[in-house]
Symmetry: C2
Subunit: 229 residues, 2 copies
């Protein structure tokens, strides 16, 4: 597979969702995507279905595929799962981290710091995600990275929906990496969970509690408003 068409389309759509070029609830019309990539609908369909499996888009039969719009409950599920998986992953990494891996993680933190310094929020978020993902990859169990990749994509969408844009977790990451370096798995795990809890804590679920999730919800609210008048 020299350079796979489907993979290319997959990455492009996923990236567009992550970068918020494709906002939640936006419809992904197969033919439009197909034309813009110069292929037929078939591979696009495959990619969309794959994204649906990862819960990044929602398919409504005979209606279309829409960028997912996670509810507050779903968002909390994602973060809980991340805590479970990443805590276990970081425990593993404490046992196995090599010097080369440490340097790479250190490099990512530097990148993150730099991106944050020059105000590149999108870049900072991406690098942050890469840090977590790389950590999971270093855990020596492919499932950690497989599942985390899915959860990370959803995290991006969730942060776009409910998040403040300022991130201040650079310190957290350094502390985690230090603990790993010291082989202190209990502390590393604790820091990781705390870090993810903080990240979840920066989200504003209150205000967006009744953010329109589906069109039906929008109509429901409309009716209530006019009934009250």
């Amino acid at each position: 597979m020299a350079h796979d068409n489907e993979t290319e389309i997959y990455r492009a759509i996923k990236q567009a969702i992550i970068e918020q070029k494709l906002r939640p609830n936006v419809q992904l019309v197969e033919e439009v995507i197909a034309e813009s990539f110069g292929v037929s609908r078939t591979p696009v369909r495959n990619v969309v279905r794959r994204l649906a499996n990862e819960k990044l888009v929602v398919i409504i039969p005979y209606r279309g595929a829409f960028v997912a719009c996670p509810t507050v409950v779903e968002a909390k599920e994602v973060f809980e799962m991340r805590r479970v998986i990443e805590a276990a992953a970081v425990r593993n990494v404490c046992r196995t981290l090599t010097d080369a891996q440490y340097r790479e993680l250190k490099r990512l933190l530097a990148e993150e710091h730099e991106a944050q310094h020059r105000g590149d929020k999108l870049g900072a978020i991406q690098v942050t995600g890469d840090f977590h993902l790389r950590l999971a990859e270093f855990s020596g169990n492919s499932y950690y990275s497989r599942y985390l990749e899915e959860l990370l994509s959803l995290t991006y969408v969730i942060m776009a929906l409910y998040g403040e844009q300022r991130m201040k977790c650079c310190q957290d990451h350094e502390h985690i990496l230090d603990a790993i370096r010291e082989r202190d798995s209990a502390e590393a795990e604790r820091l990781m969970e705390e870090h993810l809890r903080e990240l979840e804590g920066t989200l504003d679920f209150k205000e967006a509690e009744d953010s329109p999730r589906s069109l039906a919800d929008i109509f429901k609210n409309e009716r209530l408003v006019s009934a009250r008048k």
Copy 2:
């Protein structure tokens, strides 16, 4: 979606793999499956791709789809992941178990006991899986059940490959359920991890260490055999 064709095909293939009617490394020829279901290749392709995402089959481009044949390393990854996920799930269940849920789990244990008593190994294994899956569903976080369903299917294949056929975990399950009933989350978690470790321990990785993993390996062995003659 009254009764979805694709879901039906998906369940059938998955069930066949679980029941070992489709053994590891067997090729899933799209047209054959399509004909036996009276549909075209299109929905079959979708199902096969989905199974590939779940690592239950492996797709080799322009060659075909084959029932997965997990290596020893992959098998250990699956069990490690199950420990992480199910430990967390059972912790949650300790906080939220209702009477109705308890009765259902109790009923599953009775079914398991009965199936084991009449020597229905396949049925016992299935019910055992249902117990674990139901537990995950009761955890209140859909990701536990989503991921566990995937890991369970792979567990079936792994046990078919490396497993002794006798299972003796009925007691384990009852102890776990008791601990949950007592709201003793630490104990329940410990028992669950121990149970999964025991299950992994019954597998015989040594003997099957060099079991053929891919078709290429099979062919390689064939050649060696004929070369030896």
